[in-house]
């Protein structure tokens, strides 16, 4: 608290900002109900300290969700126009060639993005609960500065909730919203990010002050009292006796986060797969070596058994040469085995042991000694990911394979028989299944 009352020019002082008559009038006019609402906020634990602790948690964790989300866009390969949305203007992170090492890179970045995004839901809800009286403040503003700040809060709160809702619906296949997920989630992220930066810049001093002041992390219920009135008006004017301590509230929020973590990590950890009880990928995908998650079945891709039968041929192009191989000829080439994860943009991942021909051996076959990129085409005709471009490093990595077998047996039709691409750290949708043609560029 300041030693003397705030100067009348401050945003919290009596209205003197332009147009002064408007703000004074708003201040004097009390619409019916506003006083009843103001009295109805009675929780004694609301106040700068609780809001700041929850804010500090989000300040540390949300940037991780934002950065991993942007990395996901880079991993899709914007250089080839395959990052969605495409054509984003100047609003994108610096683009670089997505590395193939460590092989678990995409598994970790995308797993973190989705899992942390889910785990933070109770923290966001707790934070919103802690500041909800501000929404009903009267007057709603006392200066143009406050009007603008409140509008930016609509971007902040609308932004975070929009990101959570679209993300949760997307990973659970419920496309209720009827717009393109990639476009909405990408631009929603930018709106939220700029609003977050603005909010942090304005509120960080408050957060630091509150956390430097007396703490309540050890205060038991019996000694839980409201904080002294604060300049933001978070502390209840007419508090009732506490029914839960502040540390109790934090424990409930943290417990909620742990509960969600426990029911979500099974998407990304093979041994815990079935603990993701309430998610589509938390189940067994059949028994045997091919019993791991399928995102798109052969039936959904519209690929027929006739196309993948004995008549199937792989066309390899490059440097003006074209080679056609059947599956027997591919199996007769040098086979390489690698244990590699495959990770989906929707957050799930699995590690399997793949066997097949190195992509760089196929490039050498058509005379491309140092491939700069490759275009892989599937037998699939309709899907968004029926073809994928690979960077040079994704072709030459010693573990980058045209896989023919998995875990010691032939690929199942749903996993891409007769042949599929598997490359370390490559997003799952670019590990093309039912490959028909690979074209290498020098």
């Amino acid at each position: 608290m300041p030693a003397r009352p705030p100067a009348p020019t401050g945003p919290d002082g009596p209205p003197s900002a332009v147009p002064a008559r408007l703000w004074r009038g708003l201040d004097r006019y009390r619409p019916p109900g506003v006083d009843a609402v103001a009295r109805a906020w009675r929780s004694p634990v609301r106040g700068p300290w609780l809001t700041s602790v929850l804010g500090a948690v989000l300040l540390v964790t949300l940037p991780l969700v934002i950065v991993t989300g942007l990395l996901d866009w880079i991993a899709y390969g914007p250089r080839f126009g395959q990052a969605f949305p495409a054509g984003v203007g100047w609003l994108h992170p610096p683009v670089f060639d997505w590395p193939t090492r460590p092989a678990w890179l995409f598994r970790v970045t995308q797993g973190l993005h989705v899992t942390l995004g889910i785990v933070l839901v109770p923290v966001v809800l707790g934070k919103l609960w802690s500041v909800v009286p501000k929404l009903f403040d009267w007057p709603p503003a006392r200066s143009i500065a406050q009007v603008l700040e409140r509008l930016s809060l609509l971007l902040l709160i609308g932004g975070i909730l929009f990101q959570i809702v679209t993300g949760l619906l997307n990973i659970q296949y419920a496309y209720l919203f009827g717009f393109d997920f990639y476009t909405a989630h990408w631009y929603g992220a930018w709106v939220f990010t700029v609003a977050l930066v603005t909010h942090v810049a304005i509120k960080l001093p408050r957060l630091v002050t509150a956390l430097r002041g007396p703490g309540f992390a050890r205060t038991p219920l019996a000694r839980t009292r409201p904080e002294p009135p604060d300049p933001d008006g978070l502390v209840a004017r007419r508090p009732r006796p506490a029914t839960m301590s502040r540390r109790g509230v934090l424990a409930v929020v943290g417990g909620g986060a742990l509960l969600l973590a426990a029911l979500t990590v099974g998407q990304s950890v093979d041994a815990l797969r079935r603990t993701a009880l309430l998610l589509p990928r938390g189940r067994r995908f059949g028994a045997g070596p091919n019993g791991f998650p399928v995102n798109r079945s052969i039936a959904a891709a519209g690929v027929t058994p006739a196309q993948t039968g004995p008549g199937w041929r792989l066309t390899v192009r490059g440097a003006g040469r074209t080679v056609t191989l059947d599956r027997g000829q591919l199996l007769a080439m040098a086979q390489h085995t690698a244990a590699l994860p495959i990770a989906c943009v929707e957050g799930w991942s699995t590690a399997q042991t793949w066997t097949g021909v190195r992509l760089r051996d196929l490039a050498a076959l058509v005379g491309v000694a140092a491939p700069g990129s490759a275009r892989v085409r599937s037998l699939e005709r309709a899907g968004l990911f029926r073809q994928a471009a690979l960077q040079g490093n994704q072709v030459t990595d010693p573990d980058a394979l045209l896989a023919l077998r998995v875990n010691g047996v032939d690929l199942s039709p749903d996993h891409g028989y007769p042949a599929r691409v598997i490359v370390p750290a490559l997003p799952g949708v670019h590990c093309t299944k039912w490959v028909e043609e690979i074209a290498f560029d020098g």
Partner: protein
Amino acid sequence: MAELRRAYGAAPWHLLLLAGCFAVAGWIALRLAGEPAAGRMLLWFVGAAIAHDFVLFPAYASVDRVLRSASRHGGNRALLNHVRVPALGAGLLFLVYLPGILGLGDGTYTRASGLAPRARFGQWLAVSAVLFAASALLYGIRRLSRRARPPVR
């Protein structure tokens, strides 16, 4: 500068910051305006905030009010949090996994994976029941230990 500060109601950097924020948001809005589903995006963006502030928050606050008054009239304040916490847990799971629990994405899931969706409503009920049972067990243990060892005054 002082005049700007008084008229605007905050420091000049505050204005610059917010101008930057709205410039980016405005640029995005213009960019998306050409999208066929731009209206829907705006609806979901604003709707998410409205749904939280005017539906979800009032709903859980009212349930909590009922629980608090029941515990006050029942004269058993210790029980309150043993109902609140598992109820919050069950509600949180319902909210986060709602599409799966209600089977909203089942059609898309089956078309993509070729697998029959599982009914997850029962699983959610089971997890919620476990949360309530664990809370009840803890409450029982607390009561017993309190009875065995009266609080030191």
